[in-house]
């Protein structure tokens, strides 16, 4: 993609997803560089407001990735995350953030290829949706 990079934030849990991204890197798997990773201890740590704040500050897309349900390093963090983030995923389009801009998923630390797939598909989707210009006001620079 020779276009300008989109602003995409990824909240990756330290144990599984970050490890998965690491595995992808070690295996030299290529994927778009738009997505900037924020490492969190667990997907359950992701306060839905962090996602909301990212969109309020102009993010074009936000992805949350954690351990597969049942494999959470902290046993149950991702169970809570699944409920919160599913609700958020349904609420955001209602409030003006198009479906597709926010996704949550599960990637384990050995799934380098899966991470490559997720990051690539998500980035492509955000490019397809275009930049989020919802907050622009008259008189903005």
């Amino acid at each position: 993609m020779a276009k300008r990079e989109r602003r995409i934030i990824g909240f990756l849990c330290n144990w599984c997803s970050y490890g998965g991204a690491d595995t992808a890197g070690v295996s030299r798997l290529q994927y778009p560089t738009d997505l900037r990773v924020l490492r969190v201890p667990c997907s359950g740590r992701v306060n839905p407001l962090l996602v909301v704040k990212a969109f309020a500050e102009g993010a074009d897309g936000v992805l949350v990735s954690g351990c597969h349900p049942g494999d959470c390093h902290y046993v149950e963090g991702n169970y809570y995350a699944r409920r919160r983030l599913e609700l958020l995923k349904r609420l955001l389009p209602f409030m003006g953030i198009e479906p597709g801009r926010f996704e949550y998923t599960w990637v384990s630390s050995s799934e380098g290829q899966r991470w490559q797939k997720v990051a690539t598909e998500f980035t492509e989707e955000i490019h397809r949706l275009g930049p989020f210009e919802g907050w622009e006001e008259e008189g903005d620079r």
Binding site: L49, V52, K53, A56, R83, L88, L91, M95, G96, E137
Partner: protein
């Protein structure tokens, strides 16, 4: 009916520190909360479709006192939710329940009559007449009831110690609020964003919506006003106002009982209730959950299931 209520309050007043009910407001179109402490004040209590306030909003700040409170069906759900969350104690409250046929939305009335110049109001069956210097306007209650009242699923208080009249049957399954939600769901995402930008732009961050909410008990320490972490800048742009509503609604997820006080309190007429109605609709669909209808139920976001049958996950 009002006599039965007054009698019950008069009797119970001896065991209580105070009773919160509805009294006459500053003009014929407004009721107001009254705080009754002496028997001679009991006759101030009234009941009519202008009694819109959710008096449960005062319960948290009065904890430690023995408080009687007059509630409609929707208000009683707030009381039950406060109890479920352990924010108030059952033995400290006495609930005077009023089965309700609906309350008035003054914004709808304002479209037919100048609500700031009404001198007199008289009630008929299913209608009322408002008199100004320019003449009289009669309005059928049906056309000016709040949206939440249409299809009200819980018109009779779900928890009470005393019921002022016979229970009222459910009017439906919440069609009024569901329609508010589906109206927006039918728009395209771009139309929806334009809609919220237009509506939220009027917000002045007065926090009337927050303070009127019975479940918002953190008011003095609200995350929206915190400097550390500083969630919301003090700037006056739409994105800040959007962020405030998202914060409020997410903090209320699983706790909001759909009483609509937030929208009623908003001086700018922003349609806030439908955001909360959307969250409540999703929670019902996902987890078969409604706040404040059953005792002892844990809010859905404070628990989980190992397998979630209703959550369909994105495939890559």
């Amino acid at each position: 009916m009002i006599d039965r209520l007054r009698e019950a309050v008069r009797e119970k007043l001896q065991e209580l520190d105070l009773v919160i009910g509805y009294g006459e407001g500053y003009d014929p179109l407004h009721a107001t909360p009254v705080f009754i402490q002496k028997p001679e004040e009991v006759d101030r209590l009234i009941w009519n479709p202008l009694c819109v306030h959710n008096l449960a909003t005062y319960l948290y700040e009065l904890r430690g006192k023995r408080v009687g409170v007059v509630v409609k069906g929707c208000d009683s759900r707030s009381v039950l939710q406060l109890l479920n969350e352990g924010l108030i104690k059952r033995e400290e409250i006495y609930i005077f329940g009023i089965p309700c046929d609906g309350v008035i939305d003054l914004r709808k009335v304002a479209q037919k009559v100048d609500i700031y110049r009404v001198k007199e109001v008289s009630w008929q069956k299913d209608a009322f007449t408002a008199k100004t210097d320019r003449g009289e306007v009669s309005l059928g209650l049906e056309e000016v009831l709040q949206d939440k009242c249409r299809g009200c699923p819980y018109p009779t208080p779900v928890i009470h110690d005393f019921l002022a009249k016979d229970p009222v049957k459910p009017k439906g399954e919440g069609e009024g609020l569901l329609e508010q939600v589906s109206e927006l769901e039918e728009l395209s995402p771009q139309e929806r964003l334009a809609y919220w930008r237009k509506e939220l732009e009027r917000c002045i961050r007065c926090y009337a919506c927050r303070n009127a909410c019975p479940l918002c008990v953190c008011q003095d320490f609200c995350a929206a006003e915190a400097r550390d972490p500083h969630w919301i800048p003090l700037r006056d742009r739409v994105k800040e106002k959007w962020m405030w509503q998202m914060l409020h609604v997410l903090h209320l997820a699983g706790r909001c009982t759909g009483c609509g006080e937030c929208e009623r309190a908003c001086p700018m007429g922003i349609p806030l209730l439908r955001i909360r109605a959307k969250v409540n609709k999703e929670l019902k669909e996902l987890f078969d959950y409604e706040a404040g209808v059953k005792e002892g139920v844990r809010p859905p976001l404070l628990t989980y299931q190992v397998s979630e049958p209703k959550i369909e996950e994105r495939q890559w």
